[in-house]
């Protein structure tokens, strides 16, 4: 009897620490933020002293040109970064999916950029982009070309290049893993039927990799909305608002403009955006699982 109660309590005992920490430090803060977003709130006040203003913060933001600009910068950044990274990453994976010596060394070197602190990545690129002492402009001048104003006029592009440098390996490694787990029989059959390498890629490899590629793409997209430190160190959002992504604007609204209520409302907009992406990913994996189950069931019936 006692043993049975003990066994029934086990899962809760295992879950309890995680549940407590997540409720206190994630779910409660999120609710607190939703509550705060309806209030006129500056950092000197506790939330009890603030005034309830309804949807005012959301409406102000909706008509705020600076917020719209930063939303559009965020979307442009995320979409460009993810699509370029997908193309280069998957392309490289297809190209390097060969049985060569030293592949593990290569992969190790490729993941280095991802492991280093974003702050340090920003620092390196800020140095390389520097108008006079930076590496790029020195190269350009040594071959007789004009230097480029990297972090001035072309700031968004420069930030995008840095992100591509850091995160393309992520997609490369996931795509390579997907390629190497493809069923050999399908590729063998295509080769025997005389498919050219291009046909193999387009009609066999890419379609078979698709589930992994879509999940990878969504994961990267969610992460692209989280980027902050690299841009903060490189440009601090400037010049003007040209690289001020939403995460950066939230932190500036909270610390510089001291409007916590508005920053909370902005965080909620960002959260809703990410919620949609996560829901899409969740729905996609569920559909995929259902499809696989159906195919498996059909295959069993045939036997």
């Amino acid at each position: 009897m006692q043993r049975a109660t003990l066994n029934r309590m086990t899962p809760y005992a295992f879950m309890a620490p995680a549940a407590i920490v997540m409720v206190i430090a994630l779910l409660y803060p999120l609710l607190y933020m939703v509550w705060g977003s309806f209030r006129d709130w500056n950092p000197a006040q506790t939330i009890g002293e603030t005034e309830f203003v309804g949807f005012k913060n959301y409406i102000t933001l909706f008509y705020d040109p600076a917020f719209r600009e930063s939303l559009s910068v965020t979307l442009r950044f995320a979409v460009i970064v993810v699509s370029v990274e997908m193309v280069i990453g998957v392309g490289l994976a297809l190209l390097l999916d060969r049985n060569i010596r030293g592949m593990s060394v290569l992969r190790t070197l490729f993941i280095l950029p991802m492991m280093i602190a974003p702050v340090v990545v920003g620092l390196m690129w800020r140095y390389m982009y520097h108008p006079t002492v930076g590496t790029f402009n020195r190269w350009l001048k040594s071959i007789g070309l004009e230097g480029v104003d990297w972090l001035g006029q072309n700031a968004l592009m420069s930030v995008i290049i840095a992100d591509i440098w850091q995160w393309t390996p992520f997609i490369f490694i996931l795509a390579l893993a997907a390629l190497q787990s493809l069923p050999r029989s399908a590729l063998e059959a295509a080769r025997i039927d005389g498919a050219t390498p291009w046909q193999q890629i387009w009609h066999i490899k890419i379609p078979l990799m698709m589930p992994v590629l879509i999940v990878t793409c969504l994961l990267r997209l969610i992460d692209a909305f989280k980027v902050l430190e690299v841009i903060l160190v490189m440009t601090e959002g400037g010049p003007g608002l040209s690289t001020e992504i939403l995460a950066l604007r939230i932190s500036r609204t909270a610390t510089e403009f001291r409007e916590l209520g508005v920053a909370a409302a902005m965080s909620n907009y960002l959260l809703i955006l990410l919620l949609i992406l996560t829901a899409a990913m969740f729905a996609y994996t569920k559909i995929q699982e259902a499809r696989e189950a159906r195919i498996r069931a059909a295959a069993e019936e045939d036997m």
């Binding site: 295992f14 290569l106 280093i116 702050v119 490694i173 909305f225 160190v233 994996t285």
Partner: protein, 312 residues
């Protein structure tokens, strides 16, 4: 005819590989080289490798922990050593706690059917996407105003008397405050990764242990944990990396004494006159632990990265 294990490739292929390696490692190598140059050498731009290497930048960065006086420095303004120790404390403690709490939860979610399991699993999945920037406002408010011990109570008064400070004792500005939010931030990810490893542990092993009279906790610690070591290694590296590298929340929660290294670097970057040599040396010091982990455990990192997307 003996067949070689590896395919022969044409030279263009190797050229491409060389270019790729140069592109991915080049910037890091550049920073490494520059951290051994004096500012004069960096700015004058005398050709890349012809310079006298010096450890002066590292000495300047670590001036507060070096046992000897520096000749080139009148005043030690950069408290890098202290920040490094803060970073180390915060990253290590939060990694250990996240792993312990996370693998227990992952085990419960995989092996038991219980009321609330689906809710727990869905919540974990959903909060995984919350960016640190979104947590900034509520965490700042809560840690400063609500998660406090009133100074009038016994415990609060005791803490205040021992450690100083005037008002209530709050989580903000303490190591534990930063550690708590890092644990919460990393838990969903760790649970998610470890689930995919625990699923692979054969259930028959656990049943055998249970038949032999082991309690659920013994089964977990003596049978399951040893079998998912690779998963634990991967999760540990990812957690450590985030806790070690994070800037935004740490900057909102830390005070003068609990600053971490990323905060120090950002503060020095935004000053008017950037001392490139010193800042690169601090950057290098911050980058070294993750680089060492990568070189030692790249296989675990890659398994961890692919575990979620490819299998799940």
């Amino acid at each position: 005819m003996a067949k070689s294990d590896y395919d022969r490739q044409n030279p263009a292929f190797y050229a491409l590989l060389a270019v790729l390696i140069f592109m991915s490692v080049g910037p890091i190598a550049l920073m490494f080289i520059n951290s051994f140059k004096l500012d004069v050498d960096i700015i004058s731009g005398t050709s890349g490798l012809l310079f006298l290497p010096t450890i002066q930048n590292y000495e300047t960065a670590l001036c507060d922990v070096l046992p000897y006086e520096l000749d080139h420095l009148d005043f030690c303004s950069l408290k890098f050593g202290g920040a490094f120790i803060n970073s180390l404390i915060i990253a290590l403690i939060s990694t250990v706690l996240t792993l312990v709490i996370g693998c227990m939860a992952a085990y419960a979610l995989v092996r038991f059917r219980f009321i609330g399991r689906d809710t727990a699993s869905l919540t974990t999945l959903m909060v995984r996407m919350v960016p640190p920037a979104v947590l900034l406002v509520p965490v700042f408010g809560l840690w400063n105003n609500e998660f406090c011990i009133d100074k009038a109570t016994l415990v609060g008064g005791f803490i205040r008397d021992v450690f100083g400070g005037r008002g209530d004792v709050c989580l903000a500005g303490t190591h534990s405050g930063i550690i708590l939010i890092y644990i919460a931030m990393n838990l969903p990810f760790v649970i998610w990764i470890l689930q995919s490893f625990i699923v692979q542990v054969p259930y028959s092993l656990e049943e055998a242990a249970r038949v032999d009279g082991a309690t659920p906790f013994q089964v977990f610690f003596k049978v399951v944990l040893p079998l998912i070591k690779p998963g634990l290694a991967a999760a540990a590296i990812f957690t450590f990396r985030i806790a070690w590298n994070e800037y935004l929340l740490a900057s909102a929660l830390s005070d003068r004494n609990t600053k971490t290294v990323p905060i120090l670097i950002v503060n020095n970057m935004s000053e008017f006159n950037v001392e490139w040599g010193v800042i690169m040396a601090t950057g290098m010091l911050l980058a070294i632990p993750p680089i060492i982990f990568t070189l030692l455990a790249s296989r675990q990192i890659i398994t961890g990265m692919t575990a979620g997307a490819v299998k799940g």
